[in-house]
Symmetry: C2
Subunit: 149 residues, 2 copies
Amino acid sequence: MNTLQEYLYSKIPLAQAMQLQVLQAGPEGVVLRAPLAPNINHIGTAFGGSESALAILAAWSVLYERLKAAGTSATIIIQRNSIQYQHPADAEFTASAYLIEPDDWQRFMRMLQRHGRARINISSAIDCEGVCAARFEGDFIATGVSPIV
Amino acid sequence: MNTLQEYLYSKIPLAQAMQLQVLQAGPEGVVLRAPLAPNINHIGTAFGGSESALAILAAWSVLYERLKAAGTSATIIIQRNSIQYQHPADAEFTASAYLIEPDDWQRFMRMLQRHGRARINISSAIDCEGVCAARFEGDFIATGVSPIV
């Protein structure tokens, strides 16, 4: 089991209840997968709350991985998000989050280092069998930056 | 255990994983409660994905209850939502959803009966120990209306 999955399982019980699996994790992007059965709804497709939760975790994780790759650690919380459910997901689904315009990242890191607090917008896409099931975007706040020692 | 809780537990496994409890359920409003432990995050407060999921279920449920009270049944799905996380929830939290401007409800029912499909916006509030932790609003679509026989 990889490091990000261990971290999420140890800190966020819902990640375990959803049977989340980390397929890819690095500063370039994070891809998380969830099977349908523990995330199903009343009509046999993925529950919107599960899609939201997986999208939040993918977006949160890419920021976590990117900060780690930059040699820093910070507390990351979500401030707001929106999500459009475009197609029902009737099989296992993934959430993919890819950072970030280089300009946005540089602005974010500069704010974080100067003021100890910065905000950034991150998108996730929920896909199921090659079709985009939902589109998510959220604002995340990092605080209390410190070097990883 | 009340009817709505039985329904949610039987249809949506995540509701059970979150240990959701129905505190109030009727056409005037739905209040759902979740304990912190199964919904905790990496900093010891409620996971945003759990707050989103509980808010979605409260909003969905008030529409379900309202349709039931009107003597009809329909398939209700979520189309989009947004949520603002205003304060961390560091204890059990509730999601409360109260319908709906009477004009909105009449327009929604008219559309549903005429066209077999209608959309309505519903809000939920997440509260923790008397403080508003998050504000949610989402668009829900009802289709395939039929009388309850």
